[in-house]
Amino acid sequence: MPVKKRKPKLAVWKFASCDGCQLSLLDCEDELLAIADAVEIAYFPEATRAVVRGPYDLSLVEGSITTPHDAERIHRIRRSSKYLVTIGACATSGGIQALRNFKNVNEFISLVYAHPEYIETLKVSTPIAYHVSVDFELQGCPINKRQLVELISAYLHDRKPNLPAHSVCVACKRRGTVCVMVAHGTPCLGPVTHAGCGAICPAYHRGCYGCYGPNESPQTASLAARFEALGMGHADIARAFRLFTANAEAFRHESEAHEHEA
């Protein structure tokens, strides 16, 4: 392997989000020293106030675009980043705050804020890839640290990350979990959801609620028909597809189809 002359500069940026994905990086206790050894943490306000000027080799971007200011800021970040990777449901799909996309945001503002006139926001919450080109998307709400470490390792050693986009079911079956949908009749988004979490929810007898967003070929209409057969009404089906990744295309279409039926 060619020895890198200088440590690559890593930056972590925040947009509209809860900070949970950035915390996954700090949560890498065992690996954190190795990461700090391999990269120069140049910009990461959540962890350190020290700021190293750009350009940056690897930018991790958390959060969605919800304000006119952010819509401009992301272009500056893109320009100063060699690789830009979005992390988490907000950055990759618009996040839970994209629920506004299905309603009139001004109604929310007037209900939530004492002085709505101070609020400057966009009508919709959009993923980063809607605004700039993105080199890789890391799914999850939040992302998991194992995947983050894999992504950084792959970047450091110029290889493709092992982050497959197949269904959550693959993980269920590999770990031997009994399918909650077949054995218990519990609606589960696993068959249309992007793997990566390790199939945590079904292992605790819960249906997957799709926090990693749609998988590589989500056949949502067929799964929704099954949910109906299991006794779910249209309103509940619409809600099932409208959670943390509500604005991801396949899930948005499915929830809208059932909203109109309901």
Binding site: D37, H157, R159, H166, V178, C179, M181, Q219, S222
Partner: protein, 400 residues
């Protein structure tokens, strides 16, 4: 063709079938453990019968049965204390012969010169005893034996695990609604491939197991169980129970000319219809006891000092499976479902000389949307573009 060579097990005089009571079954489990085997068998967990370690009869699903239908499985209480009064759950024995995930090798870079040393992965093959292997599952193991050990390249881990596996078969005393072993000529009577076979006999008067040996090892174990010898009536009773099970099978798959039927109908509209339902979720392939596909993942640690190669179960339903330079070959659900069905039921015959389906019905039950391969074949057969036997099958097409 689809039939596998029937090595019918004819109980001879030296076979001396025996009768084991429930305590005797406990002695068998204890004896296997004493001889150093990890005993794996059916257990109730999370609402299903799965295969896991068992230490005593009470660990088995005593008094349980199940209802199965396409996309549906429910455990149900029995009104008796039958030990093997259920059929198949989501686990197949392949989990213990062909592990879902294992490391193939690990390489370390030495500090000074940067040279790599590759550490061969030790072959992990514990002595294991499978308790409760059904006839269709014996057939599935035989199919995988062929796949992993039958050619020029033998999978060393599978072969080592297989050599260390002791098999106690159980003849089915009932069938699930999803079973179709008779169509595939694999069951319900266990004919070969076991060390010992049990048939449960439960009525008002007695609760015993007819114990028959299939190998020398099996015979030597049976001899140490101090079981009572069986009389011909016991053997007849056991055969009768299994014959009733065969009659109770409701599902069928017509395998007549199936290879040519499928290869001759690669553009049948039914493939589009099933593609609109199929989720490409992979469940059918991962529960199937004969599916053998795997992928490898290469990993490095953060420092670059350690690299590893892992093998994991894979499925023809993922996009990565057919990924070659430039993209996936089988992008559509139609292409992926057709690959699964034509491989399983048609090209498998060319490849391994048997069908890839043993009629266990797992793919029917554990498909989240209840897609039933017997229905798919029936639909194609009923409206086949080209009748079977008249096509010059172009099997190369099947892969597309």
């Amino acid at each position: 063709m689809a039939r596998r060579t029937p090595k019918t097990h004819t109980p001879g005089p030296d076979d001396a079938p025996m009768l084991l009571d429930v305590e005797g079954l406990g002695r068998l489990i204890a004896l296997l453990a004493e001889e150093g085997y990890v005993v794996l068998g059916p257990r109730v967990r999370d609402g299903a019968v799965v295969y896991d370690e068992v230490r005593r009869v009470a660990d088995l699903p005593v008094g349980w049965t199940e209802e199965q239908a396409p996309g549906r499985y429910r455990l149900v209480r029995r009104d008796d204390e039958a030990v093997f009064g259920f059929t198949l759950g989501p686990h197949a024995w392949k989990r213990s012969l062909f592990p879902p995930r294992r490391r193939l090798w690990r390489a370390e870079r030495s500090e000074g010169d940067g040279a790599f040393t590759i550490a061969e992965e030790p072959v992990e093959a514990p002595k294991q005893a499978f308790l409760g292997v059904r006839a269709c599952e014996l057939a599935a193991i035989a199919v995988q034996d062929r796949v992993f050990m039958g050619g020029a390249y033998v999978d060393p881990v599978y072969a080592a695990r297989r050599a260390n596996t002791f098999i106690v078969a159980v003849n089915c005393t009932q069938a699930a609604a999803t079973c179709f072993c008779a169509s595939m000529d694999t069951g319900p009577q266990a004919r070969s491939g076991f060390d010992l076979a049990l048939t449960e006999l439960l009525d008002d008067d007695r609760h015993v197991f007819l114990l028959e040996a299939g190998t020398e090892t099996g015979r030597s174990f049976a001899a140490r169980l101090s079981a009572a010898p069986a009389v011909p009536e016991d053997v007849a009773a056991a055969r009768a129970v299994v014959a009733r099970t065969a009659e109770a099978l409701t599902r069928t798959l017509d395998t007549d000319g199936i290879r040519d039927l499928l290869f001759g109908n690669l553009d049948h509209p039914r493939w589009d219809e099933v593609a609109s339902r199929c989720l490409a979720c992979t469940n059918c392939t991962l529960v199937c006891p004969t599916c053998f596909c795997s992928t490898v993942e290469d990993t490095t640690d953060l420092t670059g000092a350690v690299a590893e190669r892992w093998q994991t179960w894979d499925s023809c339903f993922t996009m990565d499976f057919s990924y070659i330079h430039g993209g996936s070959v089988r992008k559509t659900h139609r292409a992926r479902y057709r690959q699964w069905l034509t491989h399983k039921l048609a090209s498998w015959i060319d490849q391994f000389g048997t069908s890839g389906c043993v009629g266990c019905g797992r793919c029917i039950t554990w498909c989240p949307v209840g897609i039933d391969l017997t229905e798919e074949v029936r639909a194609i057969r009923e409206s086949a573009d080209i009748p079977p036997h008249t096509t010059s099958a172009n099997q190369a097409q099947a892969g597309r």
